[in-house]
Amino acid sequence: MPELTVITGGTERKITFPGGLPLRKILEGAGLLVRSGCTGNGACGLCLVKVEKGNDGNLTKNERLLLSASQINEHIRMACQMAPQGDLSIRIIDEGAKSAWRELPQESGRPITAKSGQGTGTASPGKTFGLAVDLGTTHISFSVWDMAQGKRVFGRAGLNPQSRFGSDIITRLTAASESPEKARIMGRLPLEAINGALADGCAENRMHPADIRHVRFVGNTPMLALLTCSSPAALLRPDQWTRPFDCAAADAPVFAAALGIHQQASVKAVLPFAGFVGSDLLAGVLATGLMSAPGSLLMDFGTNSEIALWDGTTLWVTSAAGGPAFEGYGIRCGMPAGPGAIFRASRRLDGGGVDFHVTGGVRARGICGSGLVDLIASLCVTGELAANGKFTGGITSYPVQEKDPAICLYKPDVDMFQRAKAATGAGVRILLEMAGINAGRLNRVCICGDFGRNLNVANAQRIGLLPDVMPGKVEICGNTALAGCEDVLLSLRKAQELEQIRKRASIVNLSRAPRFEDFFLDGLYLRPIPDGNP
């Protein structure tokens, strides 16, 4: 059999393989992960490898569509698209997501000491601990609380290992619908990941996982459906998207065993609102106190951006599918927020290049969502990028870093960003229209989630990503889904408040909104959101 040499992180591995099998399958079979966003059908263009030696065959149609000319020159291929027949030597460009857990930032979630700790459970001998989990498509965050004292013991954030079944929700639900066994495995993966991190954290903090007696999950509906095996495949049907979806079928003892906590722990998922609005949004509304003042808007940017608007009587909620640009995917030089990501950038006005800040103080490897906002906004200010998203002065791209690696903003990247922005912008404007509120009259704009953490508000407003309100009205709120989940875990009153929020909410299906396309078109422009209607 032919032999494959894989160079990854300075080491070499040799694998024999039957000819004709896709390279991605060969690598997966040997336990080597390649970054990927789809099921291996050539859609995402992320599973890049560099062919060092050997015959790699011809490029496929998908590769010609997704690879740049310079990548093709450097013998870069997509691992899912090539099926080697003979000996080959390759280098993996980017390994897949490893679930490395990190300490949850101090400012995440609710204040670390709650004013009045009032556990939902009855007092029992010894200390009682609780676990709050925000289960996201890409990230999982959790925190462990001393229920009686209302104090956070520790928190962790990591990647959802389910992403090897696809980075987006649709791909993942499709994978889950292939067989009940696969769906079951996918449901277990986050629990296993949490179990490991929980055991580590408990050991560090000299407590025992078995003392955790209360668990609350929040998440988007598909994540909760996969977790509780509540027929996730049904969520692929549009008629389910605006209906309540039952994810309650959690078998508590099984969950408790999978998490390694107290056998009789109360394990509950906070029910999502509907097929495409999860309990993470409800928790966010709770944590931000969004309903304390009319004219309050909540935006949580992601592949599906969730939006809520309180007008004093109704909480309008929706989800806008704009693609993964805010998370750094689909952008040639893009990467998720993390070490090596440019998270802040500004064009030097004296003409020479771009000043930027990199997460983790290492050399830049790519640019994440907030960096992209800064870069695009500052190129708009200098006039190098026009409001329609085209470079001016005959250039087709803008270099940020010359080499090692070269980081360059290309026109299709700007186009991807424009689309993501247009989808969320259309969502906001349709909700404003439903509520009869002008964008400029909003009292609060709460930006939730990781994307907001490093967002430059003025730049975001300049290109129409956020409504044009006074800067003081924009609040960067962090992970409000986890904070709301913690509220529900620790306080019966807060849990009841969340149910009141649910009763006031009304879902808006953007695909049925007559003016969606008008607002979308208007939102493609890189310019401030107008106060009235187009």
Binding site: T171, T174, L236, N388, T396, K411, R419, E517, L521
Partner: protein
């Protein structure tokens, strides 16, 4: 005529409509305006819309200008007496995204086809019924989510059940363009709306 072409390429709907109206007043027939003005603009847009230079905003704006000019002459927005033939298009059941389909509609209308739009989340039977009523040159399917693939595979069968075996079926859109015609059970898989034009012009005139 050049001013009409420029107005469409600039995405200036008002200017495009005004120029088309002037041309019509000076004696040019709507057909001639579509062929020499709108179609020429579409060809120019085609060469500009390579992967490296694609801009959704630009295409949508030009598309809107095309639709406005079409509506000036055919208020329904479709070139009813098209010499090129009819194309029935849809985003099938399970798919509520229709941006891609709408771009296809603009491009085909701009090239003088009579486009019958069955909308998004369209049931298979509704599509087949429309095809039976229109006797089109081809049926086009746009898909943005992969879950629509099983329905796409049934289209040829549904058409055959109505005796429409000779109607060609093509597919495109983010979820479908990675596939081969065999995988989708269609005649052609398009990389872009302009790719569809090349496919259709190869078919010649349809059954009318």
């Amino acid at each position: 005529m050049d001013k009409l072409i420029t107005a469409i390429l600039d995405g200036d709907s008002a200017m495009a409509v005004s120029k088309a109206r002037q041309l019509n007043a000076s004696g040019l027939s709507p057909e001639k305006i579509i062929i020499e003005g709108v179609e020429a603009a579409m060809s120019a847009l085609d060469t500009k819309c390579t992967l490296e230079d694609f801009n959704l905003l630009e295409i949508m704006l030009a598309g809107r200008a095309v639709m406005e000019v079409t509506k000036l002459f055919w208020p329904s927005g479709a070139v009813k007496d098209s010499a090129k033939g009819t194309v029935v298009i849809a985003a099938l059941e399970g798919d509520v995204h229709d941006l891609g389909k709408n771009i296809l509609k603009m491009v085909l209308t701009g090239k003088g086809y009579n486009v019958v739009d069955c909308g998004k989340n369209c049931p298979l039977q509704k599509l087949a019924d429309a095809a039976a009523a229109e006797r089109p040159l081809a049926v086009g399917l746009s898909g943005l989510i992969t879950t629509v693939i099983p329905v796409v595979r049934q289209v040829k069968g549904a058409l055959a059940a109505r005796g429409l075996d000779n109607v060609k079926v093509f597919a495109g859109g983010a979820a479908l363009k990675q596939s081969t015609p065999g995988m989708l059970n269609v005649d052609f898989v398009a990389e872009s709306a302009f790719d569809v034009l090349r496919f259709l012009s190869g078919l010649g005139k349809g059954i009318r």
